[in-house]
């Protein structure tokens, strides 16, 4: 193939040396066929006006790119409508700093490790939140939410992960955990910023109908120590480690880490029982 290619190339170069113009040169209007014009010029222009190979390649490539872009945009936008908000109707209780959601009779237990500043966790909640809520409502699963704080230094000042983790634990006693948890991820502050202030966390709780002394619980950091202890436990647990160490989100079913890039992970976990 290389030999033939080189042969073509040589012929092409020879042809170009003879031809008065290259293929891509634009046609000059009014010239072809005019008096005193070299007749081959007109024929060159005629070829140019028609579909040259190069032009076909460009149009085909542009068309292919456009198809790729349009198809992916349509697929994404149509997929986006699916996670319709499901109202939570499941019970929630505390086990240390771990939030245990769902009916105690559920056959399947799912452990979810999340940092409230972790963008991948926000994505996980966006993709799976509605389905998890539905399964919790239906009594199919129990979810143990471990709000760990591994990104403490990713906010400026550091510590948003702990403050958000503490507030989420406070939201259990305030009877608003499902919606508070969802909103912390849906309105997640960006890394490198200050995160939500205590005032903002309290205001969010109030907006969602927090009961009891939610404000004092948030401002005093009542559960911060428990959150830190839970983080240490999670980081020290070899079973939770991936190739790059412990990261969030980590999901465990029946003692085994689950591949959450498989979009059927929850359905399969429920079927296995």
């Amino acid at each position: 193939m290389g030999g033939a290619e080189r042969g073509d190339r040589k012929r092409r170069r020879d042809a170009m040396a003879e031809a008065p113009t290259t293929v891509m040169r634009p046609v000059q209007p009014g010239r072809p066929g005019g008096p005193g014009v070299n007749p081959s010029r007109g024929q060159v222009a005629a070829v140019q006006r028609r579909w040259t190979g190069g032009r076909i390649a460009v149009v085909a490539a542009l068309a292919a790119l456009a198809v790729v872009v349009v198809v992916t945009v349509i697929v994404t936008l149509s997929g986006r409508t699916s996670p319709a908000a499901v109202a939570a109707s499941y019970p929630v209780r505390l086990d240390g700093a771990v939030v245990v959601a769902g009916q105690p009779t559920a056959r399947t237990t799912v452990d979810v490790y999340e940092d409230y500043l972790c963008p991948a966790c926000a994505k996980f909640e966006q993709d799976n939140g509605a389905e998890i809520t539905q399964a919790l409502n239906d009594g199919q699963i129990q979810v143990r939410y471990h709000g760990v704080a591994i990104l403490s230094n990713a906010s400026k000042p550091p510590g948003y992960s702990e403050r958000a983790g503490n507030a989420a634990v406070c939201s259990v006693d305030a009877k608003i955990f499902p919606s508070f948890h969802e909103r912390l991820f849906a309105d997640q502050p960006s890394e490198g910023g200050p995160g939500k202030s205590d005032d903002e966390l309290v205001a969010l709780g109030r907006e969602l109908g927090a009961q009891g002394d939610f404000e004092n619980c948030v401002r005093s950091g009542k559960h911060t120590e428990a959150v830190v202890a839970e983080t240490k436990r999670a980081v020290g647990n070899a079973a939770l480690r991936g190739p790059r160490g412990f990261g969030t989100p980590t999901v465990v079913v029946g003692g085994e880490k689950v591949d959450i890039s498989n979009s059927d992970w929850l359905r399969e976990a429920i079927q296995r029982g």
Binding site: G2, R13, A120, I150, E191, S261
Partner: protein
């Protein structure tokens, strides 16, 4: 220009084309294989509104793969080179603004014990790498000719037709 030096330039063009194709195929392949990581990476640059992050993160891998395939085959090489320049400049701008603003573009979801892996050192490296790729793309935009390219076959086809009609 002698035939020999033209051939040498064609060899450079071939290396640039296949190199750039490999860059896009690998980069697009990795992104397509791990959509969550891609979403997180796009989001970490903190340039786009959240609603647009989804779409960009979904389109980007396939766009890169399309560029890679087209360059690999040598179809519309100059156009692909120009698009590559545009995309690489966007990447460089994205990294540079994240650097200036002190954002952690390493996503930072792998910390292990409250420590975020220091991502600061990788900004410069990332930009240097993109500038290297940019050199390939600029070469091809200026001189898209190379061996083993469909463009070359099409051009010789055109020239053969031209020569036939001219005679």
């Amino acid at each position: 220009m002698t035939a020999r030096s033209a051939a040498a330039l064609d060899v450079v063009g071939t290396v640039a084309r296949l190199g750039l194709a490999a860059v896009w195929l690998v980069s697009g392949g990795l992104k397509a294989a791990d959509p969550t990581q891609t979403y997180v990476a796009v989001r970490a640059y903190d340039v786009l509104p959240i609603a647009a992050v989804d779409v960009v993160a979904a389109v980007l891998p396939w766009f890169e793969l399309a560029l890679g395939v087209s360059l690999l085959l040598g179809v519309a090489t100059r156009l692909m080179a120009v698009l590559s320049i545009g995309l690489l400049l966007l990447f460089i701008a994205g990294v540079a603004q994240a650097w200036v603003r002190g954002l952690s573009i390493d996503c930072g979801c792998f910390g292990g014990g409250g420590q975020v892996a220091p991502g600061a050192t990788s900004y410069g490296l990332e930009i240097a790498r993109d500038v290297g790729f940019l050199a390939f793309a600029v070469w091809l935009a200026v001189r898209p000719r190379s061996y083993l390219a469909i463009d070359g076959l099409l051009a010789s086809w055109d020239n053969a037709r031209l020569a036939k009609e001219g005679s």
